[in-house]
C-alpha cells in the first residue's frame, strides 16, 4: 500500500526545496571561503530537496498505515481559520474588544456552545483579557471605529 499523504507532502517539499535553492543562487552563493547571503539557504534548500525525495520514495515503497488515520471533519477548523483571518484583517480598525468578542463567540459556537453562553463567554473573555493585559502594560488596539 502506498502512503499517498507522504508522497504528496514530499512532492510539495521538493518544490519548496528547489525554490529555496534558486532563491539562494539569486542571493549569490559565494564559496566556502567567502560565504555570501545565499550560501546557507542554498545548502538548506538542497538538503530539503534530498530529504523530500527520500520521503517520496519511502512513501511509494513502504506500506503501513497512512499518516492520518483519525476521522476528521474539516469544516469546523476551516470556519475558525476564516474567522481568525478576518480578525487579523479587521483588528486595527474595529479594535481588540469588539473583534475578540466576535472571534471568541465564533470559537465557542464552532465547539458546540449555545448562543447565550457563547455571547456571554465571548464578551467576558474579550473584556476581561483587554482589561487584564492593558493593566499588565500590553497595549491592545481599542480600534478606530469608535475614534480610539
Amino acid at each position: 500500500m502506498v502512503r499517498w499523504g507522504d508522497v504528496a507532502a514530499g512532492i510539495l517539499v521538493v518544490a519548496l526545496g528547489v525554490g529555496v535553492c534558486f532563491a539562494g543562487v539569486r542571493l549569490t552563493l559565494g564559496s566556502a571561503l567567502d560565504p555570501q547571503p545565499g550560501f546557507f539557504p542554498f545548502i538548506g534548500g538542497a538538503l530539503l530537496t534530498g530529504l523530500a525525495v527520500l520521503l517520496v520514495i519511502q512513501g511509494l515503497r513502504e506500506g503501513g498505515p497512512p499518516a492520518g488515520t483519525r476521522k476528521e471533519s474539516l469544516a469546523p477548523p476551516a470556519v475558525l481559520v476564516a474567522g481568525l483571518v478576518g480578525y487579523a484583517a479587521l483588528l486595527e480598525w474595529a479594535g481588540y474588544p469588539v473583534m475578540t468578542a466576535l472571534v471568541a463567540l465564533l470559537a465557542l459556537r464552532v465547539l458546540g456552545t449555545r448562543w447565550l453562553p457563547g455571547v456571554i463567554g465571548g464578551v467576558l473573555l474579550s473584556v476581561g483579557s483587554y482589561l487584564l493585559f492593558v493593566k499588565l502594560g500590553v497595549p491592545l488596539p481599542p480600534g478606530q471605529l469608535f475614534g480610539g
Binding site: 547571503p37 538538503l47 530539503l48 477548523p77
Partner: protein, 502 residues
C-alpha cells in the same frame, strides 16, 4: 564551600515574596494545564510570554519553569483517572495507572505519582545544581567550530528522540532553519525570504510561530475530532500506598529518577522519551513482567519519576550551552532572550541570581507541588469537568494577545494564523513540530558559527575535525545517523523483533 554559598544565595533570591508568588503561580498553572488534556507546556509557556514582559528576568524564568515541571505532576492525574494523558509525558502512566483506578486503587496511584515526582524532581535539581556549573566551565572554551558541532548534534538528537518518522523530523529541522533565515542575514545584512514585505525584515518571531504551531493548531485539531471525556468515578480515599506498595515502588522511583535525569540532559531527550524508557526498563527488570499493564504500582512510579527528573535536568543544556532540548525549554530560552539574556556558558557567572534563584525556586516549587497534589487532588479532578470549549476559547484569545503584543501589529496575528494552519497540516501528516521550533531558534547560531569557522580557517573544512571537542561532537552526530541505519539493516536481514516493546 562555594557551592553551598551559591545555593544559599539562590534561596535568598527565591524566598523573596514576589519570587515565591511566581513559583506558586507557575506550579498552580502548570498543574492545571497538566491536568487538562489538549493544552501542553510549550503552548502555555508561549502564552505566558507577554505576561513576563514587565517582570524581572529571574521572576519570569521562575514562573515559566514552574509551569514546565508543574505540568509533569498534573499530567499523571488525568492519565490515572481518565486513561487520557493530560500531558504527552504521561502517556505510559495510563497503562498501569488507569488499571489501578479501575481496581479502586486510584488513591495510591495518585499518591505514588506525587511522591515519586517529588523525590525525582528534587534529585534532579540536586544533579542540576552540581552538574551545570561544571559543564558551563567546560563549555567556556567553545569556539565557533564547537558551537557549530554542538548545534548540529542537538538538532539531530531532537529528531532521533522525537516521536514519529525520523525522516519527517529531519525535514522539519531544515524547514525550521529556513524559517529562521527569514529577514536580514547575520553576516552581511542582506534581505532573505522577505517576499518584499517590510514586516518580515526583522524575521519571523518565535512567539508567533509557537503560538501558531502549538496553540492554534492544537485547537484546530481538537475541533476536527469530537470530544470524548469521561472522568472515572471513584472515591479518593487513602492516598498513601500500602507498605507492600512502598517496598515495590521506591526502587522503581530511584531507577526512574536516575534514567530520567540522564535522558533529560540529552538535547531532544526530555520527559516523554524518558518515561517510555523507564517503563520498559522496569518491565525488563521485574520478576513478573507479565503483570505490567494490569495495574501494578511500579508501572506508575517509574515513568512518573523519570519524567520529573528529566524535567529538572533538561534545564542543564539550556543554562550551560544555550541549547534547548525540547519545545517547552525552547520557550524559556525565548523568554530569556526577550529580557536580553543570551544563555550560554557565561550565564551562571554573569547572572548568578537567575541561575541559583531558579534552582532554589525549583526545590520550593516541588515542595509546593507535593502539597498541591496530595491533599488537593480532588480540586484538580473537578477541573476536568470544565468543558473543553471554554478552554479552547481562552487559548484562542491568549494566542491572539501573545502574537499581537510581539510588535503591536495585526500582521503578526495573521502570521500566527498561517502557522496555526500549517501546524494543523503537520499534525495530519505526522510531522513533529518540536524539531522545527528548535531549529528555528538555533538556526542563526548555526549559520553564524559555520561562517565564523570557515572565515577563521580560511575556508578549510578540516577545522571541524582538527579541534578535539568539535571532532568528538561531530563523531557522535555521525554515530547517531549511522546507528539507526545499522539497526534498520539488522532488523531487515535478521529476524524482525522490536527493540523496546512499548
Amino acid at each position: 564551600m562555594d557551592f553551598l554559598s551559591s545555593l544559599g544565595h539562590g534561596f535568598a533570591v527565591a524566598l523573596t515574596p514576589w519570587n515565591l508568588l511566581y513559583t506558586m503561580v507557575g506550579a498552580v498553572l502548570g498543574t492545571a494545564i497538566g491536568v487538562l488534556p489538549g493544552l501542553g507546556a510549550p503552548a502555555t509557556i508561549a502564552l505566558l510570554l507577554p505576561v513576563t514582559y514587565g517582570m524581572e528576568p529571574t521572576g519570569a524564568v521562575i514562573m515559566l519553569a514552574g509551569v514546565f515541571y508543574g505540568a509533569m505532576y498534573g499530567g499523571s492525574i488525568t492519565s490515572i483517572l481518565l486513561n487520557i494523558p493530560g500531558e504527552a509525558a504521561s502517556v505510559v502512566t495510563c497503562l498501569d495507572g488507569y488499571q489501578m483506578a479501575r481496581q479502586g486503587r486510584a488513591g495510591p496511584a495518585l499518591g505514588i505519582c506525587a511522591i515519586g515526582s517529588f523525590i525525582a524532581g528534587t534529585l534532579g535539581i540536586v544533579g542540576l545544581a552540581l552538574l551545570a556549573p561544571l559543564l558551563a566551565r567546560f563549555a567556556l572554551s567553545f569556539g565557533p567550530p564547537e558551537n557549530f558541532a554542538l548545534v548540529i548534534l542537538g538538532l539531530l538528537m531532537a529528531v532521533c528522540l522525537s516521536e514519529g518518522s525520523p525522516l519527517k523530523g529531519l525535514i522539519m529541522v531544515v524547514l525550521g532553519l529556513l524559517i529562521g533565515m527569514v529577514g536580514l542575514d547575520p553576516v552581511q545584512g542582506a534581505e532573505r525570504f522577505t517576499f518584499g514585505l517590510p514586516r518580515l525584515t526583522d524575521g519571523v518571531d518565535f512567539v508567533v510561530v509557537t503560538m501558531g504551531l502549538f496553540g492554534v493548531a492544537e485547537v484546530l485539531s481538537n475541533l476536527a475530532v469530537p470530544e470524548v471525556r469521561e472522568v472515572f468515578k471513584t472515591t479518593l480515599r487513602g492516598l498513601l500506598p500500602s507498605r507492600e506498595e512502598w517496598r515495590r515502588s521506591l526502587p522503581a522511583v530511584g531507577r526512574g529518577s536516575l534514567l530520567g535525569f540522564f535522558i533529560g540532559i540529552l538535547p531532544g531527550g526530555g520527559a516523554i522519551i524518558s518515561s517510555f524508557i523507564a517503563y520498559a526498563v522496569e518491565k525488563r527488570l521485574s520478576p513478573h513482567p507479565e503483570k505490567f499493564g494490569t495495574g501494578i504500582i511500579e508501572g506508575v512510579a517509574a515513568p512518573e519519576a523519570a519524567n520529573n527528573a528529566a524535567a529538572s535536568s533538561s534545564f542543564i543544556p539550556l543554562l550551560t550551552l544555550g541549547i534547548p532540548g525540547n519545545a517547552a525549554i525552547a520557550m524559556i530560552l525565548v523568554a530569556l532572550m526577550i529580557h536580553g539574556i543570551r544563555p550560554g556558558p557565561q550565564l551562571i557567572q554573569e547572572h548568578p541570581d537567575l541561575f541559583w534563584g531558579t534552582v532554589a525556586s525549583m526545590y520550593i516549587g516541588n515542595l509546593m507541588l507535593l502539597a498541591l497534589n496530595l491533599p488537593l487532588v480532588g480540586l484538580w479532578v473537578k477541573l476536568l469537568e470544565v468543558p473543553y470549549r471554554y478552554l479552547a476559547g481562552l487559548v484562542v484569545v491568549m494566542c491572539i494577545v501573545g502574537a499581537y503584543s510581539v510588535s503591536n501589529t495585526a500582521f503578526d496575528v495573521g502570521l500566527m494564523v498561517f502557522f496555526g494552519v500549517l501546524g494543523y497540516i503537520f499534525r495530519l501528516g505526522g510531522f513533529p513540530a518540536a524539531p522545527l521550533v528548535l531549529a528555528m531558534i538555533l538556526g542563526p547560531r548555526l549559520e553564524l558559527s559555520l561562517q565564523q569557522s570557515l572565515i577563521a580557517s580560511r575556508g578549510n573544512p578540516l577545522v571541524f575535525v582538527e579541534r578535539p571537542i568539535a571532532a568528538t561532537l561531530l563523531a557522535a552526530t555521525t554515530l547517531l545517523v549511522l546507528l539507526p541505519a545499522a539497526r534498520w539493516a539488522w532488523a531487515r536481514w535478521c529476524k524482525p523483533g522490536s527493540v523496546i516493546d512499548r
